[in-house]
Amino acid sequence: MTYALEISDLKKQYDNGFEALKGVNLKVEKGDFFALLGPNGAGKSTTIGILCSLVNKTSGKVSICGEDIDLNFARAKQYLGVVPQEFNFNVFETVFNVVVTQAGFYGIPTVIAEERAEKYLKQLALWDKKDVQSRMLSGGMKRRLMIARALIHEPDILILDEPTAGVDIELRRSMWEFITKLNDAGTTIILTTHYLEEAEQLCRNIAIINSGEIVENTSVKALLKTLSQETFIFDLDSGLPAEFSLPDYHVMVSPDRMSLEVEVSKGQSLNHVFLELDKVDCHVVSMRNKSNRLEELFVKLTKG
């Protein structure tokens, strides 16, 4: 089976001796929506930098759509589109020129490049800004411009490094809608993000990297199944009586007694909580997770 991305024993040691990657192994299937998560300095950006030729690896093997980057990096690069974390386009170029120039670097003739530039700039709502110098764009527009630029050679894999950092909610949602459509059309998406709820909602598979090592690599579903306990908050229609108790659960009641925080361990039932509340004539108006489930796992896997 040919993977979109296959990394074996990837190591990176910087000149100052810092070991950023200590033998990373990773496989991403074609068509996947994959998240690479990790705290700051874990090795996410170094890994992505190696994939797209911005960082020299110390050792290890990387194949992109079956092309070994040591044997044919130019071919491997054709498969990749990269949206970096930092803005890295020429700020004095117009929006249109940024995209068309990038197409030229991939050997795409100007006529085709201009057609594609129009297509992607329209899709990303930037067409009316095509003649504006890119430095004049807002932060969200600059990020969309980098997506349009990364797509200009219609890559099989799109790598997004913290694409929604500093982007407002509305724009973030429209961006994810766009990326999801790309994935539905067959593009493999690999993203790093600090918004773990995004990874939970969007991604099928996930890898967690910590201190240069992959500490977890599985499907989001499988990972969430490993959660040993979750905390739920119940909002009630009336104040909780003083005599209420849930012997086998860890419970915290809010000062106004109108909400209840319950830690539910694996094997324990939520129905029991509802039944006990019913007994004291309290009804649940709404219920939510105290924190993102993936966030709990992430903290657990990366602490220490």
Binding site: L54, V55, P84, T101, F105, Y106, G107
Partner: protein
């Protein structure tokens, strides 16, 4: 990449470089035109008339080839040095590095961008010089070959400078402390025959002397040195700088990590 795709990438880099220096023409094309006009007016016209002939030509005619070459050298060098350092500085070099464009094409693209500016400035200065003096143009082919090779050589020099540079100061150190003195001492304003033997020998260590004289030979037909030596030296420098620059680029020194 197929050959046709490599050509498109090459053309894209050159087009972007030309667009860059044309967009900021008040910083790139206008200053050398003004500076050289002042040189022609003050050194050539005012002072030159009192100096008399040099090498069988009026002083104005004698210094014109050197001044044209001086502007070609400084503009070729500074174009590549500042342009490549700028893309490094604002990280837009990553646009090229993530693409399949071969490193040799990146290097040649930037160098030809520098040559384009060097020759554009050389052309402007030549036109301006015609307002002050006649240029006999003894050997058009040699003149074009020498100015082009010199522009390539200094564009390569600018590229290597930009690869090493870590700040804008690093980009201006070589032009200020190396290129300008070497140019002034490279026979632009005088024939080395005027110097004592010792300083004539020292001058022969200055590569710019060879380029200025070869260019002057193409225009006026007079030179302090053997023109073939000049061509050999320029070609040698081009080969060495190209190999060095490409090697650094392949290693990613100064642009990756």
């Amino acid at each position: 990449m197929k050959n046709s795709e490599i050509w498109i990438a090459f053309y894209t880099i050159i087009r972007r470089e030309i667009r860059r220096f044309m967009r900021i023409w008040p910083q790139t094309l206008l200053p050398p035109a003004i500076t050289m006009t002042l040189y022609f007016a003050i050194f050539g016209n005012l002072i030159g008339t009192r100096i008399g002939e040099m090498g069988g030509f009026s002083y104005m005619q004698y210094i014109v080839p050197g001044l044209i070459m001086m502007s070609v050298i400084t503009n070729s060098y500074s174009n590549v040095a500042s342009s490549f350092f700028s893309v490094k500085f604002q990280h837009s070099i990553q646009e090229l590095l993530v693409s399949p464009t071969p490193n040799s094409v990146i290097l040649l693209g930037y160098v030809l961008g520098g040559v384009a500016r060097g020759l554009a400035v050389g052309f402007i200065v030549t036109i301006l010089s015609l307002f002050f003096s006649d240029l006999p143009l003894q050997n058009l082919f040699l003149t074009i070959v020498v100015v082009t090779l010199t522009s390539i050589m200094f564009s390569l020099g600018g590229f290597v400078n930009a690869l090493y540079a870590r700040s804008f100061d690093d980009v201006s150190i070589i032009p200020t402390f190396v290129l300008t003195p070497l140019t002034y001492l490279g026979g632009v304003f005088y024939s080395i025959d005027l110097l004592p033997q010792f300083w004539q020998n020292v001058s022969l260590l200055n590569p710019i002397l060879y380029m200025v004289n070869a260019f002057r030979f193409g225009i006026l037909g007079v030179s302090d040195i053997n023109v073939y030596w000049a061509l050999i030296i320029v070609c040698l420098f081009i080969v060495v700088l190209y190999c060095f620059g490409l090697n650094r680029l392949n290693q990613g020194r100064g642009i990756r990590d």
